[in-house]
């Protein structure tokens, strides 16, 4: 069998195909079909010749095999310094080998490559900052995931995620109507407590266009309400788009580059249609990475910038606190020891370490840094899509140990984690290891301490 019904080289583009994949519980049939999936070596080699250019070729060639990347990798540390977890080894034995063999690899090899690309690297890019040559194995694994995707060797959930984006332009099956309904519902739920609260949809020329993570309308609609309340209290002129509201990109985790382009284009179209002054994305790391940092390249924007200036939620929070748009009650500052989970995607890879510290200075009396922190912080353990892949749950859980130990060492009782992936990983960590910590996004914390201006208080309120 060259290709399976579910496991094949074709991306999912129809609801019918998506439903068939979803009906295959845990991907049982999917992975069985993968055992018989033929590797199209000619296509693989042709893709490599077209896309593996001097940067990656040089990295593969000049790696001095010095092993300095070993200790930089949380997987290497979490797996008792298993040499097979050394980043250089992981990429040389997969991508390096495919290139050496000119794409002539078999099914078993590609399955090993898939397992390595998704369960031994979260593309956190930490190794890149420890290599004297600047070899960024996270970037190379991102590239390798693209090769795997093109050959159909992709974890079941990633294939589904890519399909979701291709069909719904969201990582979950949420239509534009569902999204707008959720906004309306959240507004109605809260307008009694917050008179004048609005979630304006498709308002043109607003100061802020707000985009979210599809998990919010799907599982945590209160997050949208909290965002709305904070914008309301800050007196912001803001809006959400009815179409192009999703900032995340499971296509990026899947290595589906065409899907990546389709997804970000939808958001950029919303920017062009509604002409906001700037876009603010929710508390998510990879969403920011995808839509703000990498997206312009997928969409072919030669400036490397989004059509309107786009910032991370923490940048808006820091600005609102700095300028006094949001005022916090100093007596309500967190008293317990608190630490901050530096997300790889917007701290290491986007330079926002100081912004996060600025916010912490407003909300925590006893802020404790993890060691290491800022640009050199370790991945939460669930990045790169790993949180969502059943096949690699065990490997993910082992990887969580590094973050667990980092958190324990701070003595903090609360981990502020403005990133969906980190938040999930830390929640799961607590479920598995019971270390007695709490974790939170920024919005709920801010809402507990924000000073509500008199004119925005409900009439029957205090």
């Amino acid at each position: 069998m060259a290709e399976g019904i579910l496991c094949n080289r074709k991306p999912v583009n129809t609801k019918e195909d998506l439903l068939a994949l979803l009906a295959d519980k845990s991907g049982k049939q999917y992975y069985e079909e993968m055992n018989h999936l033929h590797v199209d070596s000619a296509a693989l080699w042709a893709t490599i010749q077209k896309s593996l250019k001097s940067r990656l070729r040089t990295w593969l060639e000049i790696c001095a095999h010095c092993g300095l990347c070993a200790d930089s990798c949380f997987y290497y540390l979490a797996n008792n310094k298993d040499p097979k977890q050394v980043p250089s080894y992981k990429i040389q034995s997969t991508l390096g080998e495919i290139v050496r063999r000119k794409g002539d690899v078999d099914n078993a090899f590609m399955q090993m490559v898939m397992d390595t690309a998704w369960s031994k690297c979260t593309c956190c890019n930490r190794c890149g900052s420890f290599c004297p040559f600047g070899i960024d194995m996270g970037v190379m694994f991102g590239y390798l995931r693209g090769l795997c995707f093109s050959q159909g060797f992709v974890p079941w959930e990633m294939k589904i995620g890519s399909g979701m984006h291709r069909i719904y332009r969201a990582q979950m099956d949420i239509t534009s109507e569902d999204w707008v309904d959720t906004c309306t519902w959240m507004c109605e739920e809260n307008e009694e407590d917050w008179p004048g609260l609005e979630i304006p949809v498709d308002k043109e020329n607003a100061d802020i266009l707000y985009t979210v993570n599809a998990r919010e309308p799907k599982h945590y609609p209160e997050d949208i309400a909290q965002a709305a309340i904070l914008f309301h209290l800050a007196g912001e002129n803001w809006t959400v788009p009815s179409v192009g509201w999703e900032e995340t990109s499971l296509t990026m985790f899947a290595g589906d580059w065409e899907g990546c382009r389709l997804q970000v284009q939808e958001v950029y179209n919303a920017m062009e249609r509604l002409k906001p002054k700037r876009m603010i994305g929710t508390e998510c790391g990879h969403a920011y990475r995808a839509t703000v940092l990498e997206g312009p390249y997928w969409a072919g924007l030669k400036t490397g910038k989004t059509p309107v200036e786009s910032i991370h939620y923490i940048e808006w929070v820091a600005e609102a606190l700095r300028t006094g748009k949001l005022k916090l009650d100093p007596s309500k500052k967190l008293k317990m020891p608190v630490t901050y989970q530096d997300s790889c995607n917007y701290i290491r890879n986007a330079g926002l370490a100081d912004t996060a510290r600025e916010i912490m200075s407003y909300i925590a009396e006893d802020f404790r840094e993890m060691t290491p922190c800022r640009e050199h912080n370790f991945c939460c353990g669930g990045g790169g899509g790993l949180n969502g892949i059943g096949r690699y749950r065990e490997q993910r859980n082992v990887g969580l140990k590094v973050k667990r130990d980092q958190i324990i060492a701070t003595g903090a009782k609360l981990v502020v984690s403005p990133c969906h992936n980190c938040w999930d990983a830390i929640r799961d960590m607590e479920e598995i290891f019971h270390i007695g910590i709490k974790w939170s996004f920024l919005k709920p914390i801010l809402l507990k301490m924000v000073i509500v201006p008199d004119h925005l208080k409900p009439e029957n309120g205090e």
Partner: protein
């Protein structure tokens, strides 16, 4: 023989070395692709240059980066080895006398005892590098015969030069071998991993531009290498 290896063969190897590294640089730059690499090399140029300079600069300073600081032993080994590799052949008095005789130019020179010491450092560092490759599992798993060959190519001129300088029996043999080893090293640079002689700078500049332009360089203080 001596005339041949220090004459036409020297010209040839210096020629291959120079043309080779220029070709490597040109090919590297030609192979950069803003869309595939996802770095706008030709837009936001000032951020790119700043990022590239920072990325190279901090890594050229011993203990200048977190990577160096967390591996102090390796850092010392690395800098001693590379300082010896670069400085000894360039500033050795004997090389400069030869240079003056043949091409009428010469650089500063270092005293012979300093060159001797640097040579010993190179050889000892190479031995430690090999031992490290054998002893540490995380390095052993990466090590190939090619790595050892490259190390041999880089170190052979020092071993043979040391023997020749100290007038061991068979001086002529060792001298000629030393010159040949040096020439093999020069010629190998463009064609082997030794190309990092120049590609180190290209690769570091590239990742520096990536961080300087796209990954936060326009917002923060620049990546804290």
């Amino acid at each position: 023989m001596y005339q041949f290896v220090t004459g036409p063969l020297a010209w040839l190897s210096f020629g291959i070395f120079l043309v080779g590294i220029i070709v490597r640089v040109v090919l590297y730059i030609k192979g950069l692709d803003w869309k595939l690499d996802r770095v706008t090399y030709t837009v936001n140029v000032s951020y790119g240059i700043k990022g590239a300079i920072r990325s190279i600069f901090f890594w050229l300073i011993p203990f200048g980066t977190r990577g160096w600081r967390t591996n102090p032993g390796f850092t010392i080994l690395f800098f001693i080895f590379h300082t010896g590799l670069l400085f000894t052949p360039l500033f050795l008095a004997a090389h400069n006398i030869l240079l003056k005789e043949r091409w009428g130019i010469s650089l500063w020179t270092i005293p012979d005892f300093a060159a001797d010491l640097l040579t010993i450092f190179v050889i000892v560092s190479a031995v430690i590098i090999i031992l490290r490759r054998i002893a540490l599992p995380e390095v052993r798993i990466l090590t190939t015969a090619y790595d050892l060959l490259v190390l041999l190519i880089a170190t052979a001129p020092f071993i043979t030069g040391f023997i020749a300088y100290h007038q061991a029996p068979g001086y002529q043999f060792w001298l000629i071998t030393h010159i040949l080893c040096g020439e093999i090293m020069l010629v190998s640079i463009p064609f082997t991993k030794l190309s990092h002689f120049i590609l180190f700078f290209m690769s570091r500049a590239q990742i520096g531009m990536d961080f300087g332009i796209k990954r936060g360089g326009m917002k923060g203080k620049g990546f804290a290498w």
